[in-house]
Each structure stands twice: as structure tokens, then as C-alpha cells.
Chain length 212, copies 2
């Protein structure tokens, strides 16, 4: 089952080989994986398929990723990273009141997550596989969202828009919990219909709790 | 695949048979199912196993339930119904301020759901099967929780404890959304560790949003 042993001797290691730098090779594998996963589905793609597509040996791929799961995790992480970047841009938009920014974060996390997981059904497979196998992805994403929330709440407290009596950490963690139903793929799957309405009413309730 | 046809002629229908009333037979089947599901697991139990355990034909069971899924749904529904009763008792405890009652509802829904789904791993199978097959259970439970929340919020508005400016329906739906991470089996499974802390901080945030 250890794919790294099958033709290790016939293939030089990336360190010794001329050609693209390690980072580029890694990106190349992820790009191929992203395409294959979206086209054929995560479950139906093998590491051998990916190796064939980019003209490398499976052993070479195993130098970068321990398993197909590790590749899936990296692809999924890139997608979630893109969502985090868009949320961070909203959080850091100093021209807007913090309440507006927080409201947009609720709407945007729902919209982008729904697009990622459901407009692209094949990618959805990876996410569900990641849930089933308890990857770190969910925790990492939640931590990133918490950090983004902290920036908005801190900004709102500095300008006097938000109350300052409650402990900042607790408040930010609580807000992050209320965002869960809007980005967790299994919850989203069960209820995509009135996502806009639900993000709006929860944001309204939370903002009343934050107001100075 | 239609189990009701295999020995229908050799078994009189419940309407014509003497003996326990239909309701009691139904309860008898559910009790046997509950025991079997908890002992052997939902996936490993067949309708034939249940029939054997209570000395009935599978055809007789199929007169009450269309499928094993329907039996599983009924067993799971009973468990969720028990949680709803305990939450309703908290909601209707007029001697306590509405804010105390709401706070207890957050803590209790987390505690009871965690006990139901995880102290009894075999029952957890039923719940996960219900998720996978998109049963009505989740919707029904959510609707019941919404109704319980509405009673507490209405009580708090009547006594002047809670604000009355926001639309009652929207506020109650928003609160119900914030409860989701504390009773949804898949979310609970991913994060049981600090359940008490999380229910407390979300209740704090929501109660600040409700205060008059």
C-alpha cells in the first residue's frame, strides 16, 4: 500500500533532479489534482491517474504528498483559503462601519461556501471525504474565521461602535459559532434554500448583542 | 423488495386480529427496535430480526411501518421528542426569568443531544443514517425547538425583560439557528470537548441582543 516504494530507485529525488523548483512541482500536482477531482470526482481519482496526467511517477508524487488524502486536503485548503482571503478583505475595509463589515461577512461566507461546495458537485466529494476522515481542514478554517471576526470586533470596539464590557475572546468565539451553519458543508447541504435570509437574521441578532 | 407481500395471506391484518390494540403493537415493535438498534446497531438489524424477537411475521411489522428506515425514524423521533419535552419544561418554568430559561435551554440542548448521540454509540448509527437519507427528523426537531424558543422569547417580551422592536419571528428563527451547532449530531461529533463553554458564550451573546 505504500506507493513510495514501488519505483523509488528508478526515479531521482526532487532534491537531486534538475527542473522546476519543489514549490512549482507541488503546485503542478495540486493543479492537476484540482482538475481531476472536479472532473472525475475525488473518489474516482487515483494517485496513478494524477501521475499519468502530469507525466510523473507515482513515487515522485509521494515525495510531495503522503497520500491521496493529503492531496485532497491541500486542494480543499486552497479553496477554503480563497474564501478566507475574501472575508479578510471585507474585515479590513476601514471605510465601512464594523457593523456593515460583519453583516457582509455573514452573507459572504454563506454565499461563497455554497458556491464552493454545491455549484461544483465533484469538489463537494472532497469536502465530504474530509469530514468523514476528520481532516484538520475544518479546524483550520474555523480558526481563520475566528481571526477575521476578531479584527472586525476589535475595530468596532475601537471606534466605540461596539460594546466593550464583554470579554473580547468569548464574544468573538461566540460569533464564530453562530457562523457555523453558514459554512459547514453538511449543514449547508441540508438547507441551502433561504441562506440569505438566515445569514441576515442571525447577523441582526448578533449585531444587537454587540451594539454599544 | 416489498416485504408486505410475502406472507400476507397467512397473517390476519391488525384490524381483524384480536389482542393488543394497534397502538400497543406499534409501541411493542418500537421497543424491540430500540433495544436491537442499541445492542446490535441500526445497520446490522433487519426487519426479520425484529419480527423474530417479538414473535411476529415480517409482514405484520410491515403493516405498521413501510421499511426499516421508517422504524428507525420512529425510534429516533421518540428520543428527540424526549429532548423536546425537557426543553419545553424549562421554557414553561414561569418562576424563572426568561433569560435564565433561555440560558438553560442552550446548556440543556447540548448536554442531552451529546448524551443521546454519543453515550449510546449504536443509536448514533441511526441518527447518521437519518442524516444520510435526509429524513424529516431534523426538520421536525428544528421546528419543535423553534416553537420552544418562541415561548421563552414571548414570555420575556411580555414581562419587559426582552426588547420588542425586532420582529418576533425573525428573532426566534435566528436564535434557533444559533442553537444548531449544539444539537446537530455531525457538528456535535466534531466538537464535544468544550460544549458547556460554547453554549454559555453563545447564550451570553444572544441574551445581550435580546435585552430590553
Amino acid at each position: 500500500m505504500n506507493g513510495s516504494s514501488d519505483d523509488q530507485t528508478s526515479q531521482s529525488s526532487p532534491q537531486r533532479q534538475r527542473g522546476p523548483a519543489e514549490h512549482e512541482r507541488r503546485e503542478q500536482i495540486l493543479t492537476a489534482a484540482n482538475g481531476h477531482f472536479r472532473h472525475y470526482g475525488y473518489n474516482k481519482t487515483t494517485v496513478a491517474d494524477l501521475a499519468k496526467a502530469i507525466g510523473l511517477s507515482t513515487a515522485y508524487i509521494y515525495k510531495f504528498f503522503d497520500s491521496k488524502q493529503a492531496i485532497g486536503e491541500a486542494v480543499c485548503g486552497q479553496c477554503l483559503g480563497s474564501i478566507q482571503e475574501q472575508l479578510a478583505a471585507i474585515a479590513d475595509d476601514d471605510g465601512k462601519p464594523a457593523s456593515d463589515r460583519l453583516r457582509r461577512i455573514y452573507r459572504t461566507i454563506g454565499k461563497l461556501s455554497a458556491e464552493l461546495f454545491f455549484n461544483d458537485r465533484k469538489l463537494h466529494d472532497i469536502v465530504l471525504a474530509s469530514m468523514a476522515e476528520k481532516w484538520r481542514l475544518v479546524d483550520t478554517h474555523e480558526a481563520a474565521v475566528l481571526e477575521i471576526i476578531r479584527r472586525v470586533v476589535s475595530a468596532g470596539r475601537e471606534t466605540g461602535e461596539f460594546e466593550r464590557k464583554s470579554p473580547l475572546d468569548e464574544t468573538c468565539e461566540a460569533i464564530t459559532q453562530t457562523l457555523l451553519p453558514f459554512w459547514h458543508p453538511i449543514l449547508l447541504e441540508q438547507n441551502l434554500d433561504d441562506l440569505d435570509k438566515r445569514t441576515t437574521i442571525v447577523a441582526n441578532l448578533v449585531l444587537r448583542g454587540l451594539s454599544a
